[in-house]
Amino acid sequence: MIDFLGAVGDVLTSEAAYINALTFAVFLAFGATGEWVAERSGTLNISLEGMFLAGAFSAAMGMHQTGNEGVAVLCAIVGGVSVAAVQANMSHRLVANQFVVGLTLNILVLGLTSFLASELDPVTRQAGTQRIPLLADIPLVGAALFDRTWIFYLIYAVVPICWWIVFRTRWGLELRATGENPQSADVSGIDVNKRRREGIYVTGVTAGIGGAYLVLGAVGQFEDSIVGGRGFIALIAVIFGGWTLRGTIAGCLLFGAVLSFRLSLPALGYELNGDLLTSLPFVVTIVAMSIFASRVRPPASLAQPFIRGLK
């Protein structure tokens, strides 16, 4: 136990640990922010994992073909949005069960990307960093926050923009109304399923960027297991955050820290059981949900399909 506390102390004072934590957290936050938008409209979008993966693969392909980071990110957005298009139209046009569609998409995208990756074998590289003077010199967290690739910095735009469109625009008002009471939204003249589809498209965009960041900013190359279930962690960050954007980001930071903790320990010379630590975000979320589930109110129509005239 003392050993464990010592490890925590060492990690907390290690600059590398902060860099790792922020890498994970920002990757998660890209997906979670979009997921939060979709969930506010009433979709529990579990194809986030697939969107991440499609984004990552498309970014790698874009990079492989053009060598241009900007093009790669655009490709990633297209990849994420393609998965979103299937999810959105299957679950909010045909009104097929959104979980089934999501699960299937995750498996499909995993198969598709690993199939294509082995056939096409995209070669890519890590994106260069842009150091922001002064800010990057802040001890411990400076480098983690301000000595990054430009894709990392996109998070500083994505989160506020998502907040703004949800809370300050008519579209966002309609989106929230849709998530809380689709019947009322419908009679008010809002196309409920369209808003929900659009919410999923937002997830596709941000998760696509997240996938690009994962490939170009974190790993440096595409691997089949590059996302490896972390889409689900981003998903549960939204739930952990009680469907508020602030809580969602807090969840991403916490889970990012936990994920990096596991990586940082061996580097610092500690031997700790990685398996149990890997499951920590999941266990934390389960415990958090057990404590808060009866207090936090999800969007009232979350995960419920909408067909006009049906309650």
Binding site: R168, T169, R170, L173, E174, R176, A177, E180, N181, S184, A185, D186, V187, S188, G189, I190, D191, R297, A300, R308, K311
Partner: protein, 534 residues
């Protein structure tokens, strides 16, 4: 129309005639069919500016469909919609709003967790300007005396207040045509008066055209200038309100002369003389108490009191009416007696034995039968067969050792189907294939065949046509005669006056008054429903 019929008979000035000068809305030959049901059959309707046009008909007569067509929620199969002389197509509510049509919805179009101004802003186009919306709300509030705080969360407002929000939401767009859909069902008599004042203002002072959809004759007679009466998807009559009386309207609406008292009650004709009918007998002091609520208190999730120290008894053979405006605790009361909600304080006894609350099936086992307000919510399983629905509560008669005996089940079901005259293709037919009235009979058959000690009937005749209402009220009376204690929860005062031996008035979750049927008078109950102790 220029030559509005004065005799009450209207036909020739037909739909193909020239559009009257200044008609706000003209519906020509509207048809809409759902599967085998012709919801609207060549319907014509003309709304004039500065006039209130009543649309009267039983449930299922097609008035809702017609109004949904006008608001763009339903697209007609054929027919023409003309607004201010222009032929238009209304694809969705936004379309309708652009043509100046607004609707005050019966069940509201509000989103509870959002604020008043956000709700009012819903369903518009263009950039969102919160302060403009707030200003406009204040302006409308002042003009029509509809006082409401723009920043209040709708879910925390009482029902009457929510309707104000709904009306403001509609008026905010300055519609030239307003549809009111059964607007008084959630209002106290006093609030209804106020509503009709607002109505008068928007019509007479501002020259808007109003359609008032209702199934209540009184309301139509009081508030409209002309009436269109619908039956089975067709317009059967169009008259000036001045030229008709209640019984004439009732006959047109039902399609035959209305003489039975219960029918008139069903139509909302309050007859204080009761037409010489027998006053329900009230000698129940000697029969045993079958249901007793002691200090029952219920809080909602936010800790607000929903039911406040309710004391209530029902004796065997007695019909106790719970009167009150909708949304004042009737639903939670029925839910508690259906074991759907646990209570926070107090206790409930059935035939002297304490029954645990909120425990699955406890009330049903103790002998509390329930005809729920919304049968789809807690009365039936639509996707299961009629036979299965008849034995949801007690499977013992049709099973052995946990295995269902389908032969016995279907045979017994057939007996009940006969007895309760349920029209269906057989015991195996899925419940959703039945009409609303027949679904209600399945519920009734099940609850009565379980030999209940108490029968809770929550809004038992809502949504039924006149014949079905008659059947239902007759069954309730017979159940009481057989010694069942009946708790009749209804927001239709006429129904309560007609059936109950004893009347309890509920307001804001509290019992505000109790009286014998003989001492009941309409005005007094009306005041109580508004929360005043008399």
């Amino acid at each position: 129309m220029a030559d509005l019929p004065t005799s009450g008979v209207h036909a020739g000035a037909g739909p193909s005639g020239p559009a009257p000068a200044g008609a706000a809305v003209r519906l020509d030959q509207i048809c809409k069919r759902y599967g085998s049901v012709q919801a609207c059959d060549n319907v014509d309707l003309v709304l004039q500016p500065g006039r209130v046009h009543g649309l009267l008909g039983e449930n299922g007569a097609g008035k809702s469909t017609l109004m949904k067509i006008l608001i763009g929620l339903v697209i007609p199969d054929s027919g023409a919609v003309t607004i201010n002389g222009d032929r238009v197509r209304l694809r969705d509510p936004l379309d309708a709003a652009e043509h100046g049509i607004g609707m005050v919805h019966q069940h509201f179009s509000l989103v509870e967790p959002l604020r008043v101004w956000e709700n009012v802003a819903l369903g518009e186009d263009g950039k969102l300007h919160p302060s403009d919306v707030r200003d406009r709300i204040v302006e409308i509030s002042d003009r029509y005396g509809l006082d409401v705080d723009p920043d209040a969360v709708v879910g925390e407002l009482p029902v009457g207040m929510r309707q104000r929000v709904e009306i403001i939401k509609c008026l905010r767009r300055d519609p030239s045509i307003i549809i009111f859909d059964e607007p008084t069902s959630v209002l106290t008599p006093a609030e209804s008066e106020q509503l009709f004042e607002t109505l008068h203002q928007v019509v007479v002072d501002e020259g808007r055209a109003v359609a008032l959809v209702s199934h209540k004759l009184d309301e139509i007679l009081k508030a409209t200038d002309e009436v269109t009466i619908m039956r089975q998807g067709r317009v059967v009559d169009h008259v000036l309100t001045d030229s008709v009386d209640a019984s004439g309207l009732a006959a047109a609406m039902v399609g035959r002369a209305v003489s039975l008292r219960s029918e008139r009650v069903a139509l909302g004709v309050v007859d204080t003389d009761l037409d010489g009918a027998e006053v329900p007998q009230t000698e129940h002091e000697s029969t045993p108490e079958v249901l007793r609520l002691d200090q029952v208190t219920l809080l909602n999730r936010d800790g607000r009191t929903v039911l406040d120290q309710l004391d209530l008894t029902v004796r065997a053979g007695e019909i106790v009416g719970v009167a009150g405006v909708e949304g004042n605790g009737q639903r939670p009361l029925a839910d508690i007696l259906s074991s759907l909600t646990d209570i926070d304080e107090g206790e409930i006894r059935v035939a002297g034995t304490k029954v645990p609350t909120g425990k699955a099936g406890a009330m049903a086992r103790a002998g509390v039968g329930v005809i729920p307000e919304d049968r789809h919510d807690s009365g039936v399983v639509l996707d299961m067969s009629i036979a299965e629905n008849l034995w949801l509560v007690d499977t013992k008669p049709v099973s052995r050792g946990g295995v269902l005996d389908h032969r016995t089940m279907n045979r017994a079901a057939a007996t009940l189907i006969d007895e309760f005259e349920i029209s269906c293709s057989g015991p195996d037919a899925p419940l959703f294939s039945l009409s609303g009235g027949n679904q209600q009979r399945v519920v009734l058959a099940r609850e009565l065949s379980n030999d209940p000690k108490v029968l809770v009937a929550a809004q038992p005749t809502r949504g039924l046509d006149v014949g079905a209402i008659e059947y239902m009220t007759d069954r309730l009376r017979r159940a009481a005669e057989d010694g069942v204690g009946v708790l009749l929860i209804s927001s239709e005062l006429e129904e309560i006056l007609d059936l109950a031996h004893r009347i309890i008035v509920i307001s804001d979750g509290r019992i505000i008054g109790e009286m014998d049927r003989n001492d009941a008078d309409l005005e007094r109950i009306g005041l109580m429903m508004g929360g005043q102790t008399v």
